[in-house]
């Protein structure tokens, strides 16, 4: 009773403080509807089935807790070696000077802040729609809150094979910035797009991306969530995947006080692929990282993969909640799920909640979860060949996360992340 009241109270105060940005009729309608969803669901509470292992308090609070921006020193920015179209937001505010020209071959790209002013726009059919569709059976109130209040974001339509990736550069400067960004992406039949994302974005960042893939479309998403120690982030990725389409998302997380990455993938057409993967490295008691994934197979011969690796030390916590739902008739489904943690000391914790719900008889689904320490035998073997202890440890950590990195199709991008991982390991000893 007390908890239920608390939840109601939190929802009430947050909604009272929520500001719906100005916009055209359709945008305003979608935002008001989203606000109504939040009111109905209530903000996350500790009793909610998918919030048992992660405390939503600081995500719910009206006032975002402060987080100092991290100085990465002379570390090269993510994806620096890749020709890309950069769209820069500083604490959620679009920065035209740092951004590239918003145009590209086979690409329509605009800011949500502009698009939302229009009377009519294709994004209307997706904005808040995929998010709303992803609210059942598991409510995701912070994503609905994002739809209602996000001030900006990008709206992208890929009409052919787009060679140059688009990068969302999310810079964080103010210690008390509280930001919601919302992206709407449509990849047309046979088209393809790579979306990169980097940076902490804000002291408290809430992002939602709605991604709609046409027949045979391809979408690759590679994200690095910044290195800011104290930032909090809640992200929602909602994908609708049509026949023969390929959806792939990979996230690399270092540091961060609280991260909740939700991914909702809905396979609606036959022979489609839905792949999501992530590597999280956490050092310290303050680190809490949560991946919550829901894949729905609603068509024939879909293939889904969830590959998550967490390396935890000095009291860090990792959470994985992953569900595969196979609807009646979704025969020949191939669902794979693996979540593993490498605990570098006895203090750190990993909690995994894998779920399968299968309503078709001719399917192949597997899931596995492990939690273990570094392999002492392998460590000794390496040392006996002259590899110093710390280097041997790093090599084994990299080997542990390799399976997740292999999910990245583009080798250049995978190498970029590998280099970052090595750098991070170098700086985090003992």
């Amino acid at each position: 009773m007390a908890l239920a009241n608390l939840k109601q109270e939190a929802t009430g105060t947050r909604l009272a403080a929520a500001v719906v940005p100005p916009g055209g009729v359709w945008a305003t309608q979608a935002r008001r509807a989203a606000l109504a969803r939040v009111a109905e669901m209530g903000l996350p509470g500790r009793r909610d089935e998918y919030w048992r292992f992660t405390n939503p308090e600081t995500l719910n609070a009206v006032q975002a807790p402060e987080a100092a921006a991290f100085d990465a020193g002379d570390e090269a920015p993510a994806f620096a070696d890749v020709a890309r179209l950069r769209v820069v937001f500083v604490d959620g505010v679009f920065d035209a000077a740092q951004s590239d020209d918003l145009s590209g071959e086979g690409l329509e790209i605009a800011r949500l802040a502009d698009v939302a002013q229009s009377d009519i726009h294709w994004a209307r059919d997706l904005f808040g729609v995929l998010e709303a569709g992803g609210q059942h059976p598991v409510p995701r109130p912070l994503a609905a809150l994002n739809t209602a209040t996000a001030t900006d974001g990008v709206v992208i339509r890929a009409t052919s094979v787009v060679e140059r990736p688009v990068e969302l550069v999310l810079q964080h400067r103010d210690a008390d910035s509280d930001v919601a960004l919302h992206h709407v992406i449509r990849v047309e039949d046979g088209a393809s797009l790579t979306l990169l994302e980097s940076g902490a974005g804000a002291a408290r960042l809430n992002t939602v991306a709605e991604v709609d893939l046409g027949h045979g479309a391809q979408f690759h998403h590679i994200r690095v969530q910044g290195r800011d120690h104290d930032r909090r982030a809640v992200t929602g990725l909602f994908a609708r995947i049509a026949e023969g389409a390929v959806f792939k998302s990979f996230t690399l997380t270092f540091n961060g006080r609280l991260t909740r990455n939700e991914v909702v993938m809905d396979i609606t057409g036959d022979d489609a692929n839905a792949h999501v993967a992530g590597v999280a490295l956490g050092d310290g008691r303050a680190f809490h990282h949560d991946d919550t994934v829901f894949v729905t197979h609603g068509a024939l011969a879909g293939e889904s993969r969830q590959v998550f690796k967490k390396v935890l030390r000095n009291g860090a916590t990792g959470v994985f909640q992953g569900k595969i739902l196979v609807r009646p008739g979704a025969q020949k489904t191939d669902g794979y799920q693996i979540s593993q943690s490498l605990l570098l000391d006895g203090d750190s914790t990993f909690i995994a909640k894998p779920e399968l719900e299968i309503w078709a008889d001719d399917v192949k689904c597997s899931h596995g979860s492990t939690s273990g320490a570094i392999d002492e035998q392998a460590l000794y073997y390496l040392r006996s060949r002259g590899v110093p202890l710390v280097e041997a440890q790093d090599l084994l950590v990299l080997a542990f996360v390799a399976e997740a990195l292999e999910e990245i199709a583009d080798e250049r991008l995978a190498d970029d992340l590998r280099g970052r991982l090595e750098g991070w390991l170098n700086r985090h000893r003992g």
């Binding site: 392999d375 392998a378 073997y381 390496l382 006996s384 060949r385 002259g386 090599l395 080997a399």
Partner: protein, 251 residues
Amino acid sequence: MLKIENLHVRLEEGGKEIIKGLDLTVGAGEVHAVMGPNGSGKSTLSYALSGRDGYEVTAGTAMMGDVDLLAIDPEARAAAGLFLAFQYPVEIPGVSNMVFLRTALNAQRKAQGRPGYSSAQFLKLIREKAATLDIDADMLKRAVNVGFSGGEKKRNEILQMAVLEPMMCILDETDSGLDVDAMKLVAHGVNALRAQDRSFLVITHYQRLLDHIKPDVVHIMADGRIIRTGGPELALEVENNGYADILREVA
């Protein structure tokens, strides 16, 4: 090259003493064989020398030249020139054989104050060495020992030895699990490395290997000690009569 005196080793877990006052000296350029019944402590000796956790040296010394092996970490022992070919090579999923070997080689060279190998230089070196051991490109690309057959694992150990060029090589039952042809390859690999300043301690149960790698000295180990030392004929005696006679003599 290697001088072990009054070595005592016990298992940290349980505290059982396995090596009970062992003396052994291997001169530069020599090949010594160590034979002995199962459980006599041969592998334990090799682990203690290479610095494996869980094996506690309670007394004695082990010098490699003027390096006090027991005073330094396993990686420093390796960099100083010690190499152990494992009886049971370890699998390392996710680390390719190539990366493993290059990391090891360059780490040792760094510790020795020598320049590392570039990718191209290393590739050339490894291709040469691998060819002589009949190790193909696929085995080099695969994760260290993962899915390797017993014989492939042993050949892989010798490849590492050939690449790292240690001064003191300990081979722990490298012959077990090898077919006749592989045995010849391995023996050839070892013989190719024989040099005036490089020594071998070959642990084996069978004369077969010693037909190819001719030892200068043969030691019989039992219950944590060397109980007999002799020439190559000692191995033949074991081959023909087993250990019973020797054990009785000593008792």
